[in-house]
Amino acid sequence: MTRPSLELTHERPRWDDHAVTLVTSEPLGPHQRLVLAMPALEARFEPGQFLNLSVPGHLLRRPLAPSRHEGTEVELIVTPFGPGTRDLIALPAGTRLQALAPLGNSFPMPAGEAALVGAGAGAAPLAFLAERLLCAGRTVHVFHGAVSSEDRPLVREVYERLGIGAHYFSEDGALGRRGYPTAGLAELLAGGADVTVYSVGPLALMRAAARLAIEHGRPGYVSLDVHMACGVGACLSCAVKTTAGQKHACVDGPVFEVREVVW
């Protein structure tokens, strides 16, 4: 029933270091939408996979999960957090960067419907998954949470372009309903639907979504956000305690089944 994420490891195309060009960089409220041209990347990103992107002036690359892969263009949604992401979103279009890609495993397809629970830039891999699911004719429920109305440009860009009627939640009620997106998930699960839960966002959100999936006996997947250096399994930075022993988010994840994670 619950597909261990490790299985996916063996089907993946091998990563390489790709020269990429930043072709678009535009604000989406507090986030930034970046488009990278990756003409040399033969493989296709799967939703949940990530790349490890160089940032000029920084020693380490930054792991980022695409929100779309169309032709040779890969779209990213970046939330400025520390010095690296701040510098990244300030780069002018035309900048040449390097990206290790494609990295990590991806979200497995659901047996039935899908419930996507996200917040902030967690919407990026979820929107990519939603697009894939819609193409496959699946029913997709989206629950997105924010503090206030700051994510309006983000959700418009990533969800509304897909024609998904997403459900919005915010702490102060300025975007959608007041409250957390897990409230929407709880209602859906209470209805007894055959859904697989997917959650990407702050740890507290993913933990709450995982708890609901487990309570209702539904499969669930989260993408764990662990500090990474190499991104490819060599440095052991990204340890994750799982019920099957210690794993590493960059190669065994970032996607884990919610029952596998030692929360």
């Binding site: 920084h58 380490l60 690359r61 500090h227 250096a229 490819v232 399994g233 440095c235 052991l236 210690q246």
Partner: protein, 301 residues
């Protein structure tokens, strides 16, 4: 003419650029990019007698031209590596430096004995804490460090390098290790450091402090190699921030016979190979060989 070829403790290296312990695992992750036999050698992740889970995350964070790590020496234990990774790595045609450590001298010897069939050199990581010596790192205690080296020498016929720490005394430890029969030195390991998280108002790393590596520490590393070369005739594997052929040549001038590339591999997985290739071009341009440079920065002019 191979300008890069270099002999180190009886082993021939096609070029002097090796990977640094803990930054290349056992090479498998990078083997599809280039044949590992094209590197000077692969230094493995540190191997201990039993598996170690390591520290909680976050384990790494970036600093200005450097990074901090507190992996906590995570590894699967010597038996797992002898069963699969080390035979695989040897089968790639790579020269192999196995990095070993433990809680006490007997542990080091145990691991060294088991990995010897696959090791061209044994690198003894003395920066880990001496559990029976009050958790002071071995490298800060000349006697404890010397005991480790004596035991390892007894356990293996491979040449033994002692990996020194930049956080304690350098020359007293080196002297004690020479007396204990060490064959060569490898330095520097990481500098102790810390970064604060302004949002959570606490250290970024779960372990609070970590080891600083990368270009930021290069001047400290070059000086320590220079200092050790002045006082010891044992060959030196130098490291700390090497990210270009020019950096490698700085270490050679200071006295390093081999150089290791660590953190730079995270910036660019091709770095160890590219640095060797750049070195070849640079020495060609100058009509010199790598060996001409070793210790040449000490000339009295």
């Amino acid at each position: 003419m191979n300008r890069l070829e270099v002999e180190f403790l009886g082993v021939r290296f096609p070029n002097p650029v090796v990977t640094a312990s803990g930054t290349f695992n056992f090479g498998r992750e990078y083997a599809h990019l280039y044949p590992l036999s094209r590197l000077g050698a692969v230094t493995t992740k540190g191997v201990s007698p039993r598996p170690i889970a390591g520290t909680p995350t976050p384990r790494i964070t970036e600093t200005p031209m450097g990074m901090l790590n507190a992996i906590g020496l995570e590894n699967k234990g010597v038996d797992a590596y002898v069963a699969s990774e080390l035979p695989w790595l040897k089968a790639q045609g790579a020269r192999v430096i196995v990095n070993v450590f433990g809680d006490e001298a007997a542990d080091f010897a145990h691991v060294a004995r088991k990995v010897s069939p696959y090791a061209d050199l044994i690198e003894v990581n003395l920066s880990c804490p001496n559990v029976h010596g009050g958790r002071l790192p071995f490298a800060h205690d000349p006697e404890a460090a010397a005991l480790v080296v004596r035991r390892v020498k007894d356990a293996t016929d491979r040449p033994v390098l002692a990996k020194l720490s930049p956080n304690g005394p350098l020359l007293p430890v080196a002297e004690a290790l020479e007396a204990a029969g060490v064959d060569g030195f490898s330095l520097i390991n990481t500098l102790l450091g810390m970064r604060m998280d302004l949002e959570r108002k606490r250290p970024v790393l779960a372990n609070r402090q970590g080891g600083l590596s990368g270009p930021a520490i290069k001047p400290v590393a070059v000086r320590q190699v220079y200092e050790l070369y002045r006082h010891s005739d044992r060959p030196i594997l130098g490291m700390g921030g090497v990210a270009s052929a020019e950096d490698a040549l700085e270490f050679a001038l200071a006295g390093a016979r081999l150089v290791a590339v660590g953190t730079a591999t995270f910036s660019d997985p091709y770095a160890p190979l590219k640095i060797a290739q750049e070195l070849e071009r640079e020495l060609q341009r100058r009509a010199e060989t790598w060996s001409d440079w070793i210790g040449a920065g000490h000339a009295p002019n």
